[in-house]
Subunit: 457 residues, 2 copies
């Protein structure tokens, strides 16, 4: 049945009722997050100024599954379950014997997977009486998802947007404002963190690390306000697992098991959301290649150090063990896509470190080329972030063409490229270049790491 | 069941297999299209330089249903069947006893209902050996839909884009180029029609009428090239009826019958696509209010003349009987949305003239206000065109609140507003104004009408 159809769809009544929590299944103990000032293991109460208690408890939960609240389910139903596509046309175009599937998260109102966690976070904040949520955003995907979620939950939303994106990509800002959010370019003059950086470098293009510092400070200094992070933390990965849980059921309906799973990684939540329910099977012995795709311009997993580092530039966020390029990382303006955080989710980093997940880095010209191949075959234009794993899928499918292997490839199709057409235009007109992240910068980052003891080392 | 769910979905196997043709059901004979030069009724062969014969035959077909070709069905399956949404959250926000449904066409790769006909037209052109299709586009919805369709069918595509939009809305142009189309600002120097207008007015912002003239000339003067129109013609309305046929089945599953159907009208294909399958029932005696929503800035159906007029500015396209503001109509740049064609589909005009369909005009500030009400309740941001019928639906729902009537309202949700955020930004910042179309202009248009005899008058 399913092999004839283009989309494998689930009914709303088949929506997963629970998120999957990878914490109890990890193959080794996770290094504990440390307090940025004391270097001591973080107690749940340390995070209380930033997050509602329900999310803090999810952060450290060892329950294998966590129930999705009804009010979150009602909003999920606006776009979930999302369709799992069989890429018939792409397969034919490539002439591959591989079967390619993509889990299409681009149909949510903001256009990506991000609202899966934004809605949940807004819900738990509202439950605990929070009035406003502050956050950061890079290219604007996360900010617009949180703006959407806060709007539907009846909360205020303040977004610190990396200044380079704020200026170059006004449409995402306008989208946030359409949902009633306030959006400021970061570094801003609204926080100490922002003012300090602007005093040193008035033309700072900003970075995710800087914008995180601003949003954290905003939340920590206002009683009615909490902070929200769009990736990296366990509760975020947890909320995103609805993607993988749906995909697993859809593949089962199609009579398939994936041989290869690919997803792009910025902070790790998109990738983990699709992959973790399959990682669970792999840890029990099932054979599947799970590939995390990142940009060569920000090669955290492939070339970063697996060490404790600050989560943000101003050293306000917890210190966590992860692959890192250093918390002072500022991305090259030449790079067109998102995926520009200096670190990655600790759970994901541990699984990469243990060899359960493989990491690969891609140059941007190759990712845009693959994105256009995809768009001209399947019709849908991927976000530049998504293009990284589309590249990986195309490469794997072409390998199958050479070997004749009929592998089943699953893509985390995380979002559309409607707000990234200026980047596509630069690609069409030869204005994009590849960028090799210099080794010296990685070595310099080593010197900035916090002086803390790793209890798992 | 359905009343609990947010979306009423059909399986791919439940996709309608046939389009509905309203021609045989019209309540009075349609005035025949006339040749622009001779004023004589058009013979099918007269259109052969512009359209493939299969589409010309659909134009005059009296068959009640026309089979959808397999290859068209395969591409439709990339986004069809589209979900019918129950607007639970909007109803609650308005406090109305009305039940509001919206047929969401925004999930197609180009983001609107337009590819329903673009794919079909590309298919029939390809069947008859055409290599390239030329067309016009206003805000870019139609051009990007045809670019998408030609790309997937393996045809070349040339788009003449109204210059004001080309300059103000570069993202749609970039989207067309991502699918491999060539896009030029109109009036251009590529055609006689364009050069003539530029000689008189080098700064002409263009109009749909002018862009049609250019595309028609391009097709008529190149052997391997045909022309394609995104609205107005019967074959276009026909292809769009898949929207209404799906919606009818979805409402049946929900145990509903619509009391009110609303859709926006530019040339009429979006509106007719949803409404015509219900018009069929109304003509047989079923009670339903069917409301065509247009802008006050281009009040074709509400204030235009019901007379024969040219379809384009350069008088190359056929002369048809329709409501018209005159073929030299140029829209006010102050108006932010699409819906700016001087005429409308003859079938739709006939039904308005006979009182089967009601027409209403809306000022733009009121439509943006309704669009934001919708976006903040349902999450999805409507295109400014779609906003016109969202306004009508909100007004009708508020009437129900006053009267206590539990009406069922069906909205033609034709597309998303991701490429119209600059217009939303202008609305947010008070830069949009309402515009009352002056009566003198309508009287002046009367003098420009072609001197032909109306055999149905």
């Amino acid at each position: 049945m399913a092999s004839e159809e283009t989309k494998i769809t689930l009914r709303e009544s088949e929506l997963p009722q629970r998120w999957y929590n990878i914490n109890p299944d990890l193959p080794a103990p996770l290094a504990p997050p440390l307090h940025p000032k004391t270097g001591k293991p973080l107690a749940p109460g340390d995070l209380a100024p930033l997050f509602p208690m329900a999310l803090i408890m999810q952060e450290v939960s060892m329950e294998p599954y966590i129930e999705i609240p009804d009010e979150v389910m009602r909003i999920y139903r606006l776009w979930r379950p999302t369709p799992l596509y069989r890429a018939h046309r792409l397969e034919k175009h490539l002439g591959t014997p591989a079967r390619i599937y993509y889990k299409n998260e681009s149909f949510s109102p903001p256009g990506s997977h991000k609202p899966n966690t934004a809605v949940a976070q807004a819900y738990y904040n509202k439950q605990e009486g929070v009035k406003r949520i502050a956050t950061e955003t890079g290219a604007g995907q996360w900010g617009s998802a949180l703006a959407f979620a806060c709007c539907l939950m009846g909360l205020e939303c303040t977004v610190y947007m990396v200044r380079a994106s704020y200026e170059q990509k006004p449409y995402r800002r306008m989208l946030m404002e359409s949902w009633g959010a306030a959006c400021y370019p970061s570094p801003s003059d609204l926080t100490n963190a922002g003012r300090t950086i602007r005093a040193k470098d008035p033309d700072s293009p900003g970075s995710l690390g800087i914008a995180i510092s601003e949003a954290v400070e905003d939340a920590a200094t206002h009683d009615d306000t909490k902070y929200s992070l769009g990736s990296v933390l366990n509760h975020v990965l947890l909320h995103q697992t609805i993607v993988g849980l749906e995909a697993k059921e859809q593949l089962r309906l199609a009579g398939e098991e994936p041989d290869i799973i690919v997803g792009c990684v910025g902070g790790g939540s998109n990738f983990s959301g699709l992959a973790f329910p399959f990682v669970k099977d792999k840890l029990k012995g099932k054979q599947v290649d799970i590939i995390a795709c990142e940009p060569e311009a920000c090669p955290t997993l492939t070339r970063g150090l697996y060490r404790y580092d600050y989560g943000d530039t101003a050293q306000l966020a917890p210190v966590v063990k992860m692959y890192t390029l250093g918390h002072t990382f500022v991305p090259e303006p030449i790079h067109a896509g998102g995926l520009r955080y200096h670190g990655d989710a600790p759970q994901l980093c541990l699984l990469v470190n243990k060899g359960v997940i493989e990491a690969r880095a891609y140059h941007q010209l190759a990712t845009f080329e693959a994105a256009l191949t995809f768009a001209r075959a399947e019709g849908f234009l991927p976000a530049p972030e998504t293009a990284h794993c589309v590249r990986a899928a195309v490469d794997e499918a072409l390998k199958c063409k050479q070997t004749g292997q009929e592998k089943c490839i699953l893509i985390a199709y995380s979002g559309h490229g409607f707000f990234d057409l200026a980047a596509y235009d630069k690609y069409h007109t030869g204005q994009l270049e590849d960028y090799e992240y210099p080794q010296e910068k990685i070595e310099a980052a080593l010197k900035e790491l916090p002086q803390v003891t790793d209890p798992t080392a």
